[in-house]
């Protein structure tokens, strides 16, 4: 339904060129709810605006529903008003001088769709019904709450019967409870309508819950695409590991690989980790072994540690309702653990930690610019601030 190839986009900021998109490729299937996820400044909104035609990419191709809307070779550009899309903005962007009905009807009447009167009324009614806005039809939009305005914006986009619906952080201006309620509503609605949706957010829990597939972006590139559960289970890249959920990243070097598993030498000794083909790293390469805090098994015995095991000392304990969160010192590393509340340990307790290989993941580190090894190590220890 939507295909993007080698998309590039740079902005000129006071004379210098800043790359916002660096050769993006993406294919989204019909009816898919696709999420672009990433920290602010990663290029996800630029990407969405390129699809909408609100930004003109430097090079690449964009195809919507088998129609090329942008390409550099041959030169082709379809302006936003002629693309089969609908869009919902972060700021709602409902027109303040029109009432709810008119906000939805105006583009149908004055835009390229240019429907006749009767069909406009029919369509407006049907989207008002769909979003439960019937009682508000004749209210000036400025008298509506944020959530209601956002529903009007969604209704306006749906009334266009777009091939692709674009949503740019539509919920981020709403309070948390409303966000959670509306994200379920939206997901359910889009599936019912079978509408292809591209949804931009920086909120990982929103992305995990709402998306059929997620693309995690950083610095104008897509670092990983996958179903939410895949991204959570098997982050292939340091960025994804750091951005989605919590994960201990244990630095090391690949020793060898066998099948879907790799063995890495780390500060915790030799660790065996799951390594799907997409993360294949040659022996000797720097890598991380990632393990989620809830996947580390905590024991108290004094037997010497076996394979994928080590011993450490509890340093802090926090009670977090459904369990206990520990930090544990193992050699020079500090690991985060999460355990059921029945395993109550005091700070200073000696523990045995087991990392089951199927819950350990081999992770590609971020590409470093060539620099001194020490510096690179320092940088990899602390999560890098997302470049604005």
């Amino acid at each position: 339904m939507l295909a993007i190839t080698t998309l590039h986009k740079a902005f000129q900021v006071s004379g210098t060129s800043i790359a916002a998109l660096r050769g993006l490729d993406l294919e989204i299937a019909r009816g898919e709810f696709f999420v672009l996820l990433g920290p602010s400044g990663c290029g996800k909104t630029t990407m969405l605006r390129c699809i909408a035609g609100l930004e003109r990419p430097g090079s690449g191709t964009i195809v919507i529903d088998d129609t090329v809307v942008f390409s550099t070779r041959p030169q082709l550009w379809v302006p936003p008003e002629r693309r089969p899309i609908g869009m919902v903005f972060q700021s709602y962007a409902v027109w303040p001088h029109m009432d709810v009905y008119e906000n939805i009807a105006f583009p149908l009447r004055e835009g390229v769709r240019n429907l006749e009167r009767g069909r406009i009324a029919e369509r407006v009614r049907s989207v008002l019904d769909l979003l439960g806005l019937n009682d508000l039809a004749n209210r000036p939009v400025t008298t509506l709450s944020g959530g209601q305005q956002q529903r009007v914006a969604l209704a306006r986009a749906l009334a266009l019967q777009p091939k692709v619906l674009l949503m740019d952080e539509p919920l981020s201006n709403l309070d948390l409870r409303l966000q959670i309620y509306l994200r379920r509503q939206i997901k359910e609605l889009m599936h019912r309508l079978g509408l292809t949706t591209v949804y931009v957010t920086h909120n990982q829990s929103e992305a995990l819950e709402i998306g059929d597939r997620i693309a995690v972006m950083e610095n104008g590139r897509i670092v990983q695409i996958g179903r939410p559960i895949e991204l959570y289970r098997n982050p292939e890249h340091e960025t994804v590991a750091r951005f989605i959920g919590e994960m201990n990243l244990i630095e090391g070097r690949v020793a060898f690989t066998e099948g879907d598993y790799a063995v890495a030498e780390t500060a915790l000794g030799v660790l065996r980790a799951h390594a799907p083909r997409s993360t294949s790293l040659p022996p000797g390469e720097r890598c991380f072994v990632g393990v989620r805090p809830e996947d580390i098994e905590v024991g108290t015995g004094h037997a010497p540690p076996g394979p994928n095991e080590c011993s450490g000392t509890v340093t802090t304990v926090r009670f977090i309702g459904d369990g206990l969160a520990y930090t544990c010192q193992v050699g020079s590393l500090e690991l985060k653990l999460k355990a059921h509340r029945r395993t109550e340990l005091a700070p200073g307790a000696e523990v045995r930690l087991a990392f089951s290989p199927e819950f350990c993941v081999l992770i590609k580190p971020r590409d470093e610019e060539p620099r001194g090894e020490d510096e690179a190590e320092q940088l990899s220890r602390q999560p890098r601030m997302a470049a604005e």
């Binding site: 909408a52 035609g53 930004e55 302006p79 869009m87 903005f89 027109w95 105006f106 835009g111 604005e388």
Partner: protein
């Protein structure tokens, strides 16, 4: 993502929106004409337009008294601005930083003063204080043969005093925001550091206000040297030569053809003077914006209690109001009601009649129609260009927009006189193809161009506050750019358009300088009618016409002040999303005297 906001390059082909670009460029062209036309004229041969020469500059440099006249023009500017600040600074202070009880009344008088143009104020002072028949002089019996007049209006000092007094409302409205937004915590920080309140004002508050005050001073310096309102009524008959009088004389020779070349050469000198002042103005505006950023987060100072000082403060405000408002108005009404200039007395009271008002009606017909057409034309031009330019500046995100904005922002550096000469010259040069030389159409074009800067300031300010996604939402819904401009952009900025229209209408009705230069006898407007009647000694009818004119202006002032209140409606403020702080433009509100 700051990157997007600034670099949101215009997407899509130009299509119908080319119309908007075209209108914007037309407005820019018109601004360019007001300077380039004058430059061209200054190199034109007097006898043969199209033949270029340096003779005009030679003539200017050889002109007797060039140094004196230039110096006097500088003194006119400095003097007027000093008088303006003498009244304006304390009034702005009283309004913004004290618990003065009569603030509403003061603002009311300041706004009402806009309905009494400078030349009418000057005219009434001529009646009161001229050395041969001035009413005040006559009251002292000072006009008798051989007696020394008590007052002589024909002096540079009086011109400066009156010009200063007339500029006070515009000056106060220009400075007020800076006074009001000064962050109170900056003062409090000084107090808690052990600095006395008086010293705090001297060392903290005044330096912080300085850019705003100096910016206003520079802006009104230009207006003081270019406006012909006071100079034309007092300086011209009084033989007080300044550069604008030279231009007027060259355009209105007693015999023969107007000397455009010489007028334009003088205009270049006047323009250079103004350009320097506008340069400083921009510098000071930038400075005050920098301070305003600091103030953005703070709160304004609690009003200072005046205590017994409220009486001197009231006396001061009333003193200004008396000089600038009450005295001229009372004089005007008195002169309109008596058959000839006479000192109030019981005998004079018996001669009161409405005859002058009837006479005025017989004169005012055509000029009133012309004034209405000029105003309507100026509104149409300034608003069409202004809205188009603002769209390009605030919406297109292109470099063109930036250049356009700068060019228009600088246009007040071209004095009205100079612009008028330029348009008149253009009128002659193009006469064969477009016969608008000396007509109200040319007056309309010149005034519309002069007021364009005011319009773009006002509309830009409104436009920056409105989120661009409102337009983008229309594009992605399949609405073309031109239709979005028409149905989304214009309706949302409508309040600023209405307000600009009222102000442009008001200011073009008041305008004397431009019609006086362009009018070649074919296009009398109400302001030039008053000027002619006064020059011909027909004082009483002049007064009556002036009163009719004031009535019209009062209506326009009322409309404008109503609309300025509705300038930013609640609905667009909701959409503002904090962009206002990012771009708060100094709007020379009501400041185009």
């Amino acid at each position: 993502m700051a990157v997007h906001e600034r670099n949101d390059t215009s997407s899509g082909g130009p299509g119908g929106i080319a119309l908007v670009y075209g209108l914007a460029l037309l407005g820019l062209a018109s601004v360019a004409v007001s300077l380039l036309g004058n430059i061209l004229a200054s190199f034109s041969d007097r006898a043969d337009i199209g033949h270029f020469t340096l003779l005009n500059y030679g003539e200017l440099l050889g002109e007797h008294g060039l140094g004196d006249v230039t110096l006097r023009t500088l003194m006119l500017g400095v003097g007027s601005v000093s008088m303006m600040l003498f009244f304006g600074f304390p009034i702005a202070w009283i309004l913004s930083r004290t618990d003065f009880a009569w603030k509403r009344m003061t603002i009311g008088v300041l706004v009402a003063k806009l309905a009494i143009p400078g030349f009418i104020t000057a005219m009434s002072y001529v009646w009161l204080l001229n050395p041969t028949s001035g009413l005040v002089n006559r009251m002292f019996g000072a006009t008798a043969l051989g007696a020394e007049p008590v007052f002589n209006i024909y002096g540079l000092g009086w011109i400066c005093l009156l010009q200063g007094a007339v500029l006070v409302p515009a000056c106060v409205f220009l400075m007020l925001p800076a006074f009001q937004h000064l962050d109170a915590t900056l003062e409090e920080a000084a107090w808690v550091s052990g600095v006395s309140p008086a010293r705090t004002i001297r060392r903290v508050v005044l330096p912080l206000l300085a850019p705003a005050v100096l910016g206003a001073a520079m802006f009104f310096f230009v207006i003081s040297v270019e406006t012909f309102d006071i100079v034309g009524l007092i300086g011209l008959p009084g033989g007080i030569k300044v550069l604008s009088v030279w231009i007027y004389d060259a355009m209105h020779p007693a015999i023969g053809m107007p000397d455009y070349g010489f007028a334009a050469a003088v205009g270049i000198l006047l323009f250079l003077m103004s350009a320097v002042a506008i340069g400083f103005y921009i510098y000071f505006v930038r400075r005050s914006e920098r301070y305003a950023v600091v103030a953005g987060k703070g709160r304004s100072s609690p009003p200072q209690s005046l205590g017994l000082w409220r009486w001197p403060a009231l006396a001061f405000v009333c003193g200004w109001a008396f000089i600038a408002f009450v005295l001229p108005l009372v004089t005007l009404i008195w002169v309109a009601l008596v058959p000839y200039l006479q000192v109030p007395s019981s005998a004079a009271l018996k001669t009161l009649s409405l005859t002058s008002f009837n006479f005025a009606l017989s004169y005012i017909g055509t000029p009133l129609l012309n004034t209405s057409i000029v105003a309507a034309g100026a509104i149409l031009l300034a608003l069409t260009w202004g809205a188009s330019i603002s769209w390009v500046v605030t919406r297109s995100g292109t470099r063109t927009g930036l250049w356009l904005d700068t060019a228009v922002f600088l246009s007040p550096a071209v004095p009205s006189m100079v612009a008028a000469v330029a348009f008149q010259y253009l009128g002659i040069a193009l006469y064969r193809w477009l016969p608008i030389y000396g007509t109200i159409w040319l007056i309309s074009l010149a005034i519309g161009t002069r007021l364009l800067a005011f319009c773009t300031r006002t509309i830009n300010a409104a436009s920056w506050q409105i989120h661009r996604q409102l337009d983008e939402a229309a594009y992605v819904s399949g609405v073309s750019r031109l239709k979005t401009f028409r149905y989304i952009y214009l309706p949302i900025i409508a309040p600023s358009l209405f307000y600009s229209s009222a102000m442009v209408g008001l200011l073009s009705v008041r305008e004397l300088t431009v019609p006086l230069i362009i009018d070649a006898g074919k296009a009398p407007v109400v302001s030039t009618l008053v000027f002619q009647l006064q020059t011909n000694g027909n004082h009483n009818v002049a007064a009556a016409v002036a009163i009719y004119m004031i009535a019209l202006l009062v209506a326009l002032v009322f409309i404008a002040s109503r609309l300025s209140g509705a300038d930013r409606p609640a609905q667009s403020r909701r959409q503002a999303q904090g962009r206002s702080a990012e771009r708060r433009e100094p709007v020379p509100l009501l400041a185009a005297e």
